[in-house]
C-alpha cells in the first residue's frame, strides 16, 4: 500500500471493505496436525484431509470466482486513479526512476566518449595478458580456439563458477516447480492423467524424425570441437538440449522418456559436474603446488588435443544439455 497517495489509500480501503463484505473465510481443505518431535526427515507428511460439506464449498467457490472476475477491473481503476493523482508517491517513483535512467545514460555516454576508440589496435585492453593467450595459448593449452583455451584452462575457476550458477538455478527451479516424486515406471506414466502424447501432424513428425539425429549430431560436433572451432560445451549442450525438447514436443512423453527424463537428467547433471570438479580440482591443485600434472596436450589441431579442455567440454555439454531439458520438463510438467 505504500505506493499510494492518501486518496488512493481511501479508494483501496473502500475496495477492501467491499471485498470483505463479499467474501467469507474459505474453510481449509488440508489441515496439518501439530508437529511431533520425530517429524524431521521421515519423508511422510501426516496429512489429514478435511473435506467441508460439498454444498457449502461449491457456494463459496462460486463467490470466490465472482470476486476474482471483478477484481482486476476494480483494481485497475484504483491504480489508474492513484497514478493520475499528481501527489501520488507512485507518480514520484516513476518520475524519479525516469530521471535516474536519463542520468545513468548521460553519465555513461560521457564515459563512452572518454573511452579508447572502438576497433583501435592500441586499446589498453589488448595488453600482455591477451597477447599471451594468443601467442602461447596453442603451446600451453593445446587449444586452437583461444577463447576455449582461456575459459577452460587459464581462467578455469570462473567457468567452474559459471557451471555452479547453472546448477544453483536448476536447484531453485526444482525447488519451486517439482511435483511430488513420480516413479518413472511404464505403468505409472500411463496411469498419469494428461500424459503428453505429442502432436498429431504427420508431416511434422516425419520432418522431426529426419532432422532429430542431425540436430543431436550437430550439437555433439560442436561440443567435441570446442577447442578447435567456435562453440564448445555451452552452445553445443544447449543445442542437444533443444533437440531433446523438440523430440519431446513432437513425439510425446512416452517416446521421450525412453531417452531421458528428469531424474536421469538430475543424475547425469550431477555426474557431469562431479567429473568436471574432479578434473579441475586435480589440475588446480597440481598447478598451485607446483607439481607437473602429466596431462598430455596432444597434437595441436587434432580432435584429441587440448589436454583437459576436451573432457571438460564434454562434461559441460552434458551438464548444459541436461539442464536445458530438465528446465523444460519442470516448466511443462508443473501444474497447480
Amino acid at each position: 500500500m505504500s505506493g499510494l497517495s492518501e486518496e488512493g489509500k481511501k479508494d483501496v480501503k473502500k475496495f477492501t471493505d467491499w471485498v470483505n463484505a463479499n467474501s467469507e473465510e474459505i474453510p481449509p481443505e488440508i489441515v496439518y496436525p501439530p508437529k511431533h518431535d520425530d517429524h524431521h526427515g521421515h519423508g511422510h507428511e501426516h496429512k489429514e484431509i478435511v473435506i467441508p460439506h460439498e454444498e457449502t464449498l461449491r457456494e463459496k467457490m462460486a463467490k470466490r470466482e465472482h470476486i476474482d472476475e471483478n477484481f482486476q477491473e476494480e483494481w485497475q481503476n484504483v491504480m489508474q486513479k492513484a497514478n493520475d493523482d499528481p501527489s501520488s508517491p507512485e507518480r514520484w517513483y516513476r518520475l524519479a526512476s525516469s530521471i535516474g535512467g536519463a542520468l545513468i545514460v548521460l553519465v555513461l555516454l560521457i564515459t563512452v566518449a572518454n573511452l579508447p576508440r572502438f576497433g583501435s589496435p592500441d586499446a589498453p585492453a589488448m595488453n600482455e595478458v591477451a597477447r599471451r593467450y594468443l601467442e602461447s595459448g596453442l603451446q600451453e593449452t593445446g587449444a586452437v580456439n583461444s577463447v576455449a583455451g582461456m575459459i577452460l584452462d587459464y581462467r578455469a575457476f570462473d567457468t567452474l563458477g559459471e557451471s555452479v550458477v547453472l546448477f544453483t538455478a536448476t536447484v531453485t527451479v526444482i525447488f519451486l516447480l517439482q511435483q511430488k516424486e513420480r516413479n518413472h515406471n511404464k505403468e505409472d506414466i500411463e496411469a498419469v492423467d494428461g500424459n503428453y502424447k505429442g502432436i498429431r501432424s504427420l508431416p511434422a513428425k516425419v520432418i522431426v524424425a529426419i532432422t532429430f539425429p542431425f540436430i543431436i549430431l550437430y550439437g555433439i560436433y560442436i561440443v567435441l570441437n570446442g577447442h578447435l572451432s567456435p562453440g564448445g560445451g555451452f552452445s553445443g549442450g544447449a543445442i542437444i538440449g533443444a533437440g531433446l525438447v523438440l523430440n519431446h514436443l513432437v513425439f510425446g512423453q512416452e517416446f521421450s522418456e525412453k531417452f531421458i527424463n528428469v531424474n536421469k537428467c538430475k543424475k547425469l547433471m550431477a555426474g557431469g559436474l562431479f567429473v568436471y570438479i574432479a578434473l579441475k580440482t586435480y589440475s588446480i591443485l597440481t598447478g598451485a603446488n607446483g607439481i607437473n600434472s602429466h596431462i598430455p596436450l596432444g597434437k595441436a589441431g587434432s580432435i584429441f588435443s587440448g589436454g583437459l579442455i576436451f573432457p571438460l567440454n564434454i562434461c559441460v555439454g552434458v551438464v548444459v544439455a541436461c539442464t536445458v531439458f530438465s528446465l523444460y520438463s519442470l516448466f511443462t510438467d508443473w501444474s497447480s
Binding site: K35, D37, H39, H40, G41, H42, G43, E45, V107, L108, I110, T111, N114, L115, P116, A123, P124, A125, M126, N127, E128, V129, A130, R132, Y133, E140, D153, Y154, R155, A156, F157, D158, G161, E162, V164, V165, F167, T168, A169, V171, T172, F175, L176, K180, E181, K266, K267, A270, L273, F274, I277, T281, S283, I284, L285, T286, G287, A288, N289, S293
Partner: protein, 491 residues
C-alpha cells in the same frame, strides 16, 4: 596449508551436488550440511594461528598460470578470521532454526534447502578469498540466486513477493557491477586485483581515463550498496529478512549482507586505493549514507509493529554503522567497522533465532502486541532476546558496547557528526528494543491458554552459543581488535 581455502570451496560444492541426489533423506542432508560447515570452520581456524605467527598473506594460483594470466585466491589473517565467523554463524543458525525449517519447508524439499545453503557458503567463501574481479561477479550471482532461494523456501505469498523484489533489485545491481567491470577492463585491460591496482594508480597519476574510473567506482559502490542494503537502497531488506524462515533470516542478516561489504572493502582498498577513493568523493558519500542509515533505519524500526520486520530494520541501522566506519577511510575506522560487523554477525542471528522462538510461543503471531509474556513461556528465547537487545543498545560487557566504543574512538579525530549519530542511534535503539523486552517478560493473564513449549536441545545450544560469543566479544574484544588491526594492515 595453502590449499585450505580452495579445498573448502570444493568441499561445499561437492556437498551441494550430493545433497540434490539424496532424494528424501533430509536427515542425512542436515548432518552433511553441519559436517561440512564444521569442517570448513575448523580448516579456517587452522589458518588463523598460522597467519598470526607468519604475518603477511598468501596468493594462491588456481591452475598452472601465474599472476595476470590465471585466476587467483588471496588470503591472510582477515580473510581466514571472517571465513571462520561466517561458518560458525551458518552452523549455529541452522541448528537454532531447525524447528522452523521443519515447519516452514515441505519435508521433501529439505535437502534442496540445504543444497542452497551449501551453495551460499561456497559463494561467500569465494567472495572472501577471491583475488579476481570477474570471479567475484560470478560468485556474486551464485550468492544472489542462493540467497533468494533461501528466502523463498517458505513458499507463501509474502515470501514470494519478498523474493521477487529482492531478486529484481539484486539483478539490477549485478548489471551495474558488470558494466563497471566492463568499464574498468576497457581502460586497464586487467581483471586481477593487484594488476588492476597498479594500472589504475598509473592512470590516475597520469590523469588519463579519470572519468571512466570514477564512474566505475561509483557504480560498484551503488551495486554492492544495493546488495548489502546501504541506506537509500535498503527497501528490499525488511521484506526479505522479515518474512523468511528463521534460519534464513539469521543467515541473510548475519552473513550474506556482510559478504558484499567485505567485497566492497576489498575493492576500495585493493583495486582503487583508499586515497584515490577519497579524492573521488565516493568515500565521503559512503560515510554520510552510513550516518543517514544509522538514524533512518532506527526511525523506521520504531514505526514497525511486526517483530521480525523491526529486527530487520534494525539491520539497516547496523549496516549504517559499518558503512560509516568504512567511510572514515582510516585503518582504525576499518578495523572498528569490521569488529562491528563480526559482533553484528553474531548478534542479529541471535535476535532472529529468539524472535522465531517468541513467535512460536505466541501462537505464531508476528505482531509485537500479541507477545505479552512470550519470553516467560519460552525462556531460552526470552533470555536470548534480552542479551541481543542489551548488546544492540550498547550496555557494557556486551559485544555491541565494545564495538561502539571502538567506532567512537576511531572517529574521535575526524569530527563530531559520527559521535552524535552514534549516540542518537543508540538512544533510538533503546526506544524500540526496550518496550519489546518489557512486553515479552510482562506477566500475562492468558498464560494458561498456551501450551508449554518443550525446550529443544539444538535451539537452546544455538541461543547459548550466540550469547556466550557475544559476551566474549564484549569482554575480550580487545584481542579480536588486535587481530583485525593486524589484518587490515596487509589488506
Amino acid at each position: 596449508m595453502n590449499n585450505i581455502p580452495f579445498i573448502s570451496i570444493i568441499i561445499s560444492m561437492i556437498a551441494s551436488i550430493a545433497m540434490l541426489l539424496l532424494g528424501k533423506k533430509s536427515k542425512t542432508a542436515l548432518t552433511l550440511a553441519k559436517g561440512v560447515l564444521l569442517v570448513v570452520a575448523l580448516l579456517s581456524l587452522l589458518l588463523i594461528p598460522y597467519f598470526i605467527s607468519t604475518g603477511g598473506s598468501i596468493t594462491y594460483m588456481l591452475g598452472h598460470y601465474p599472476a595476470p594470466w590465471g585466476n587467483e585466491l588471496r588470503f591472510g589473517l582477515l580473510e581466514s578470521l571472517l571465513a571462520f565467523v561466517f561458518c560458525t554463524v551458518l552452523l549455529l543458525a541452522i541448528i537454532g532454526g531447525k524447528n522452523d525449517i521443519i515447519e516452514d519447508v515441505q519435508s521433501r524439499k529439505h535437502n534442496q534447502y540445504f543444497a542452497l545453503l551449501m551453495l551460499l557458503l561456497l559463494s561467500l567463501l569465494a567472495l572472501i578469498y577471491t583475488n579476481d574481479i570477474f570471479t567475484a561477479y560470478v560468485f556474486i550471482e551464485i550468492n544472489t540466486l542462493a540467497s533468494c532461494g533461501i528466502v523463498m523456501v517458505k513458499e507463501s505469498g509474502e515470501t514470494l513477493r519478498a523474493t521477487i523484489k529482492y531478486l529484481f533489485m539484486s539483478l539490477m545491481a549485478s548489471g551495474l557491477f558488470l558494466i563497471s567491470i566492463a568499464l574498468l577492463y576497457s581502460v586497464t585491460g586487467q581483471l586481477l586485483i593487484p594488476s588492476l591496482f597498479a594500472s589504475i594508480t598509473n592512470l590516475l597519476a597520469s590523469g588519463t581515463y579519470r572519468w571512466p574510473i570514477v564512474v566505475a567506482c561509483t557504480l560498484m559502490t551503488i551495486s554492492l550498496g544495493v546488495k548489502s542494503a546501504m541506506f537509500p537502497f535498503h527497501t528490499w531488506l525488511p521484506d526479505a529478512h522479515g518474512t523468511a524462515t528463521t534460519s534464513s533470516s539469521s543467515i541473510l542478516s548475519g552473513v550474506v549482507v556482510k559478504g558484499y561489504i567485505i567485497l566492497l572493502i576489498k575493492i576500495y582498498y585493493r583495486v582503487f586505493g583508499i586515497e584515490n577513493i577519497r579524492q573521488m568523493g565516493v568515500l565521503q558519500a559512503v560515510f554520510w549514507l552510513g550516518i543517514a542509515g544509522m538514524i533512518f533505519g532506527s526511525i523506521f524500526a520504531i514505526r514497525e509493529k511486526n517483530l521480525k520486520r523491526m529486527v530487520a530494520y534494525s539491520s539497516v541501522a547496523q549496516i549504517g554503522y559499518i558503512y560509516a566506519g568504512i567511510g572514515l577511510g582510516t585503518y582504525a575506522g576499518l578495523a572498528a567497522a569490521l569488529f562491528h560487523m563480526i559482533v553484528h554477525a553474531y548478534t542479529k542471528p541471535l535476535l532472529f533465532t529468539s524472535a522465531g522462538g517468541l513467535i512460536a510461543a505466541s501462537k505464531h503471531s508476528k505482531l509485537i502486541a500479541n507477545m505479552t509474556g512470550a519470553g516467560r513461556r519460552n525462556l531460552p528465547a526470552g533470555i536470548g532476546f534480552l542479551i541481543g537487545t542489551l548488546s544492540m543498545v550498547g550496555v557494557p560487557l556486551f559485544g555491541g558496547f565494545a564495538s561502539k566504543v571502538y567506532l567512537a574512538t576511531s572517529a574521535s579525530e575526524t569530527g563530531y557528526a559520527f559521535l552524535i549519530a552514534l549516540a542518537l542511534s543508540s538512544f533510538l535503539n533503546a526506544i524500540y528494543y526496550l518496550p519489546v523486552l518489557f512486553r515479552i517478560f510482562a506477566r500475562s493473564d492468558a498464560d494458561e491458554e498456551y501450551e508449554k513449549e518443550e525446550a529443544d536441545f539444538g535451539y537452546v545450544m544455538s541461543i547459548s552459543c550466540f550469547s556466550i560469543i557475544n559476551i566474549l566479544l564484549g569482554v575480550g574484544g580487545i584481542y579480536i581488535m588486535h587481530l583485525l588491526n593486524q589484518g587490515v594492515q596487509i589488506l
